[in-house]
Symmetry: D3
Subunit: 135 residues, 6 copies
């Protein structure tokens, strides 16, 4: 079993905001991350697939194919977008890194057919990142 990771990048804005709460409560819980006009990040996304290494190709999954899946299913839909307002599959919950990673997992899980999806790692910044392994 080998773990294969492909990294992708996108730039987006978001706002931490729970519409069930008052503005005051959002401000108390999310602080400056709840600024009404939003703020943004250069997100880094690491998608890890695990599987056996076939003798003939030597590849758990063709990295070009993995890169294309990540590009089409994720990056094209979130890059240069406002994550609360512009992305259908991110609606209905607070777009924290935790929830975004889980949403990416839901999308990618069915698309990876060579090996199986092992981990989604999402960096909001160099100092803050999350990982979801479908557990």
């Amino acid at each position: 079993m080998v773990y294969v990771t492909r990294k992708a990048h996108f730039s987006a804005s978001h706002r931490l905001y729970n519409p069930a709460w008052s503005d005051a409560k959002n401000d108390a819980v999310f602080g400056k991350c709840s600024n009404p006009h939003g703020h943004g990040h250069n997100y880094e996304l690491e998608v890890t697939v695990v599987g056996k290494v076939p003798d003939d190709t030597g590849m758990v999954i063709d990295l070009k194919k993995l890169s294309d899946i990540v590009e089409q299913e994720i990056v094209e839909k979130v890059d240069h977008k406002h994550l609360n307002l512009d992305v259908d599959f991110l609606k209905g919950f607070v777009p924290t890194a935790e929830n975004i990673a889980k949403a990416f997992w839901q999308i990618l899980q069915g698309k990876i057919t060579d090996g199986r999806l092992y981990s989604i790692k999402l960096f909001e910044s160099e100092n803050n990142f999350v990982e979801y392994r479908g557990e």
Copy 2:
């Protein structure tokens, strides 16, 4: 003469948009950077000061002091903000990295009294950055 640089970070959203133009023209010129709800970046800012090195302190400028100036005058005003909507000193022009760097120069130039401001370098992402030297 030694060049001393302090790096700072902020996360913000912006939209490339010229209000004198139609939406179609904005879209033609700025592409996805003109998405109406904006997008965002983890900006990196490098402020460089040049000067002589005094014998007693060995410092062109106290880096703590430089850091405090950059924090108060810039980072507190732009971090977790929408650069088009939330920042007074960025109004009246398209908030490209070029124009933001020039605006930062205007603000910092008068605040640096040990040595003189030499350069403002602004990274929008790892792959895109600009530098302004007041020329």
Copy 3:
């Protein structure tokens, strides 16, 4: 379950030295890391917390809160210090990265009440790092 990581930085000096040994033995075992006046590093610390993601906040732990805990309990006590001489909770053992990581775990374990502490990763340099998971 999502793994959430916050990165912190500190600059400190240390010396690998076992007082139960002769200087010659310390030199034989630790080499240049045993230089009597010490040497130093820009340490990078990654603290990972694992937990469920609540619907209302979308956060395993508020990263601002996690950052404050790490800052108060660790960074303020070790930054710009000599780890052998200036830090009470690092006394009584050789301050290798392994032992420092374990000491940080002891301190942080009781302070993390949202989710549970999963890992302490400590980088002495870009090329040398350790991880402790409380096992």
Copy 4:
């Protein structure tokens, strides 16, 4: 138990090519990675050893010793080489990152006598990397 990692670097060229296949099939499967004259990378290698921390040394494994093993057994044999043509232990399979990592594991496993080898992580580029844990 603490996980200790040492990072090493080497620059090498390789070509993804299965000699049992026609050139057309190689081209179809491996694309530009199958360019006949090869292409190259600055590889980054992370070798992780896990073990208990002895009281007297505080080190799972002496990092100087681990570094020397990695240098002699791996880096000296692959640095500034063509991985398909110049390296005996990489012959007989397609030199994908997956297969190279497994080959490195075979070599290093017997050489690590303090603690035990836990993981080989190999970066072909900043965006593509694999990990093998001997499973």
Copy 5:
């Protein structure tokens, strides 16, 4: 005047070799960089353009346009190639970073029509890089 930089990446192999010299002399001058089968790097290329900032666009040069020029004129021709054997415009000289940077300058100089080309910076590795400014 603002300096605008776009970074690009390519992976290639090369060999330092002067055909006017004996193998022994090549080996004496270039050492392991003269390995007959070549070796490789993940090159990083920074292209800097300098110019005035127009009021209407706020951009010295459209970074998308600059990126497209660099992609078409350089990256597509060198990525996943052997620089001595596969690239017409790199023939006739030793492909050191110095000479590659100068060759890139010759190609790009005529293609940049917004602002003017200021610098070509080429990283062979994190530790070795060159810059050419057309002087």
Copy 6:
């Protein structure tokens, strides 16, 4: 003319302290950088040489030679040392990054005989760095 840069690394401790001043004044001017037992950094050093590119070698200076000079003249003397106490050529002034960079210039200037020394850039941390060009 091409600018060629070689990067080197060393880990050291230091203390900002002017012996002509009282402890109170040192504390007021240098703050936590004046901690009596010192603190430390992973320093990064970039040495840049500028010169013409000879036709036969394609190299301004052999990077192996430049690397050896930097290693022997600088790194071996400062790595894993206390810069105030263990390094003869750093005595007699406050070991700020500014003064260390100037001291490195004095040493390296006479040793570089292919091309001429153009710049010494010294990073104390990712966020703080200085450059000296002999002006």
